[in-house]
């Protein structure tokens, strides 16, 4: 837009040599701006822009890959509202988030506050807490599959055996499977949350602590009256990003439980995968992914408002 205001003569004539020289630097800047931005912009247009439109169109069709997509109005959406497995999956996501996120946020905050102090070897501890986040979720899920193994040699059952509780079928029991999944999400989720808390702690004014030291405040008082209030923006921020990430849980479920037993651990993304790539109902699965998108847009809207609100500092 700046280019058009500074060179009003631009649309007058075909670009003759002297004319181009006059508007030279600006024109070159605009031209290179476009050239450098184009590959990435075109790529996202082709691989994200077109697919999102196609997903919406497909969601209005019956499409099973073999025959052509056939427009069926909003039948898929009506069907989703009657699909108890889909809503079971949504509910599971809500439970995993509702139980897992507060616990891992609390632990992350405790770790961050402690690791923000000048303790010997804190770098090593930070790495240990952060490693589950850097490791592929597939590998993480394989490790926990082995820990939860129903054979008495699975670590969990070995430990339980010591205190006299007999081997429990963690991942095949309808009541134990979801808690078992939640435990893994907590373990894997602490690292990133701790990191964001640590970054936020750098911004907390040290003088507040010094002043409260003089007033004789103890560690717990300082934690609840200075640290927690000062970290409120970070807390909201972590909460919303964790919620968004939670609705994209897939690998963990694929390896650990395949949504079972009896959909006790099914989640939205895994349900979409089942509908599309196991049942080949691409139209219905597209409608499910549009619903997922809408849920995430709502969450993102909140996150943008929150991030926008904390941008000032």
């Amino acid at each position: 837009m700046t280019a058009s205001t500074t060179s009003p003569s631009a649309p007058v004539a075909a670009p003759t040599a002297p004319h181009r020289r006059r508007s030279g630097p600006r024109a070159a800047e605009a031209r290179w701006g476009l050239i450098l931005a184009a590959p990435a912009a075109l790529h996202t247009l082709i691989w994200i822009g077109i697919p999102i439109v196609v997903a919406f169109l497909l969601s209005l069709t019956a499409y099973d890959v073999v025959t052509r997509p056939e427009f069926n109005g909003g039948a898929n959406y009506v069907r989703i509202f009657q699909d108890s497995i889909f809503w079971k999956a949504v509910l599971n996501n809500v439970i995993i988030a509702g139980v897992g996120i507060p616990i891992s946020m609390f632990l992350a905050l405790v770790f961050a506050v402690i690791l923000n102090r000048a303790l010997p070897g804190r770098g090593v501890f930070r790495v240990m807490v952060f490693l589950p986040h850097i490791t592929a979720t597939v590998a993480v899920a394989m490790i926990w599959l082995w820990i939860y193994s129903p054979s008495s040699s699975g670590l969990m059952n070995t430990v339980l055996g010591v205190i006299g509780i007999g081997p429990l079928p963690f991942l095949t029991s309808p009541t134990l499977a979801l808690p078992a999944v939640i435990l893994v999400t907590i373990w894997q989720g602490i690292g990133l949350k701790m990191l964001i808390y640590l970054a936020a702690l750098q911004g907390v004014n040290e003088e507040l602590y010094e002043a409260s030291d003089i007033d004789g405040a103890n560690f717990v008082q300082k934690f609840f009256h200075i640290t927690v209030p000062m970290l409120r923006p970070a807390t909201f921020f972590i909460l919303v990003t964790a919620l968004i990430a939670n609705f994209q849980t897939f690998d963990l479920i694929y390896i650990l439980t395949e949504g079972g037993p009896a959909n006790a651990t099914n989640v939205v993304t895994y349900r979409i995968y089942q509908t599309a790539f196991q049942e080949f109902r691409f139209g219905l699965a597209s409608a499910q992914s549009i619903i997922l998108l809408l849920m995430l847009i709502v969450l993102t809207f909140f996150s943008r408002r929150i991030v926008g609100g904390t941008d000032g500092d």
Partner: protein, 322 residues
């Protein structure tokens, strides 16, 4: 948030605080010694808590590594000894015989490297353009990029899969994209759809915003071409940014699962995460081999992280922004 890394900033050393203290009120020194003693006790308690907590956090990894080297007969013992009685490194060799983890690792390495290189090249160009150059569509491209960050892959995976499958004139497809398998089971499918990440464009823009515009103007006066300014003058200033994006893209490529699972069918193109997932079905009872395979899938990223910690941490702290 992008530029300062939490783990890097030098420790807030209490002794250093004392050194800078003399200028302050003299009465505080007495109080500070008792405070320091209190602090020492507190630190010891926290250290004890940390050691226990960190051990619990690390237990799954230790369990994986230990189990990868156990003898199968030991796995069946009740109770199983916590420490392997004889360390069997042969487990790794045996795992390699049962499934071609070497090929899986090679494929993952190619995929992850391609993601790193393509993101660094194309996302940096776009990020620089959005941060420093004025052109008509600039605002629109930026808004579009931010919008793309918010669209989850799971919302577009079905159309992307269909586009790849119906890619015209590939894999036996006609010009209308019918009749064959298109890009399915090819490097095209693995690499092209994820070649540029909108988030990496955004991250690059943030890195470029911090570079001096005066340098660009001076270079223009000296007659350096616009492309030369981007490639030879400004981009060298953000080497840490380049490394951050390269490592984050590599990590995402190495850890990717759903997409390679959907578009590859042959063993020759299978990546390591899909490899261990399918190895699991074949060797469900051979936990020592499964853990050896899992170790091979996990350890390269762990090593890379340990070496380039600060860049990962910077990138992840910044990725919180999305």
């Amino acid at each position: 948030m992008v530029t300062d890394s939490p783990t890097l900033s030098p420790a807030a050393d209490p002794t250093r605080v004392d050194v800078s203290a003399p200028g302050r009120h003299p009465d505080r020194s007495v109080r500070q010694t008792s405070l320091r003693r209190q602090k020492r006790v507190g630190n010891a308690l926290m250290l004890a808590f940390l050691v226990i907590a960190a051990l619990i956090m690390a237990t799954p990894f230790l369990w994986m590594a230990l189990s990868a080297m156990r003898d199968p007969s030991e796995m069946a013992k009740v109770p199983m000894p916590l420490i392997p009685q004889d360390w069997r490194l042969e487990n790794f060799a045996e795992t390699l015989e049962r499934a071609p983890f070497g090929i899986y690792a090679r494929n993952s390495f190619i995929l992850a490297s391609a993601a790193a290189i393509l993101n660094v090249v194309f996302a940096s160009a776009c990020g620089y353009s959005l941060a420093k150059l004025r052109f008509a569509a600039s605002k629109f491209v930026f808004a579009w990029t931010v919008a793309c960050i918010m669209i989850p892959f799971y919302a577009t995976v079905i159309p992307v899969f269909l586009m790849v499958r119906h890619m015209p004139l590939f894999g036996g497809n006609s010009i209308l994209g019918q009749g064959g398998i298109g890009w399915i089971d090819s490097w095209w499918a693995l690499i092209v759809p994820g070649a540029v990440s909108p988030f990496m464009v955004f991250l690059f823009r943030q890195f470029y915003v911090g570079t001096p515009t005066e340098l660009i103007e001076a270079a223009r006066l000296d007659g350096v071409s616009e492309f030369g300014i981007y490639s030879r003058i400004i981009t060298p200033l953000i080497k840490p940014g380049l490394l951050t994006v390269a490592l984050l893209s590599f990590e995402a490529g190495w850890n990717n699962f759903l997409w390679p699972l959907l578009v590859t069918t042959s063993e020759n193109l299978r990546v390591i995460q899909v490899g261990i997932a399918s190895f699991r079905q074949e060797a469900t009872t051979d936990w020592h081999l499964l853990m050896a395979g899992t170790t091979m899938a996990a350890v390269p990223m762990i090593v890379l992280f340990l070496v380039f910690q600060r860049y990962f941490v910077q990138g992840f702290a910044a990725s919180g922004i999305k």
